[in-house]
Symmetry: C2
DNA sequence: TTAATTCAGACCATTTCGGTAGGATAAGAT
DNA sequence: ATCTTATCCTACCGAAATGGTCTGAATTAA
């Protein structure tokens, strides 16, 4: 159940980034600290953070007193970047293995729907920054007024 | 790769529904016909169509000269209904296993983003009917003008 | 009765998901 | 130097989902 469910990796990764965003930007947070504070499996989070480092969102310092900090300010990190660093580019589509004739198959007309969905999803994620999340109060969870994006 | 990829089941199911929508509404189409015409694995499609029957979108007639027809007119079948019949309700969210304090965790602020995405996705799928697809020409596939939904 | 068809269920191979384990490497503290 | 604290890297692992297949029963037209 759940067609477009968000994987744990993304949830955990976002939590780590958000946690770092409310800390002193200079202070290195260890994986142990982040994991216990956020209630996330430590070794799993370690791998996830590695992906965020490769994505240029987190900086690390090795050795004793090492740890992680955000690579940029929270205003400059979008939801989309975190997701992309962890899962690759968002691609709402069917696996296009074999190209078939456009006439006899409904495939191409469906693609228009997929790409419209993809466009809207991408829009929300790119317009939402980590800094936006920090100051959001906890209002009703479903059917919210959705004032997050700039809503074209 | 592909965060919100559409599963084969949905692709195949939609193709079957669209195929039926362009046939004579009285004529029963066998599973063999639909599968070969659409280039879909026959036995797999058979199971998928069973779900569409349970969802009230397709009618079946058993025995020789049996087959499938649409249960309603294409104008009254939305993309969303097909998807829901095959995958259950769309739920863009993280598995909410354990409820944690709203204060110390960024979870609740993320939920606002998930629900906004879900709302927009659902909107596109509910506003697109099978009849809409039939007359759509095959224009450019990516970054299309997206004139499908009523675009609030 | 027989042929054509849907219907129901078990089965199955591969991939993905979520997570663990162990060690190599780096750097600060003593 | 070497010890401790930490990141980094790679392999591994169980369970679930994905994408199918196979077999056989039930139904119906000819």
């Amino acid at each position: 159940m759940g067609l477009m469910q968000i994987p744990r990796r993304v949830d955990y990764g976002l939590r780590a980034v958000i946690y770092l965003s409310v800390q002193d930007p200079e202070r290195c947070c260890s994986i142990t600290e982040i994991a216990t504070q956020q209630g996330v499996p430590k070794k799993f989070l370690e791998k996830i953070i590695q992906d965020l480092i490769r994505g240029g969102l987190i900086k690390s310092k090795r050795g004793a007193c090492g740890g992680y900090t955000l690579a940029r300010s929270p205003e400059e990190i979008s939801f989309y970047e975190v997701i992309e660093a962890l899962e690759g580019p968002i691609a709402v589509n069917v696996c296009m293995d074999q190209h078939m004739s456009c006439e006899q198959l409904p495939r191409c007309s469906m693609v228009n729907v997929w790409s419209e969905v993809q466009r809207k999803v991408t829009e929300v994620f790119t317009n939402t920054t980590i800094a936006d999340l920090k100051r959001k109060p906890c209002r009703d969870l479903i059917g919210g007024s959705a004032s997050l994006s700039s809503a074209a």
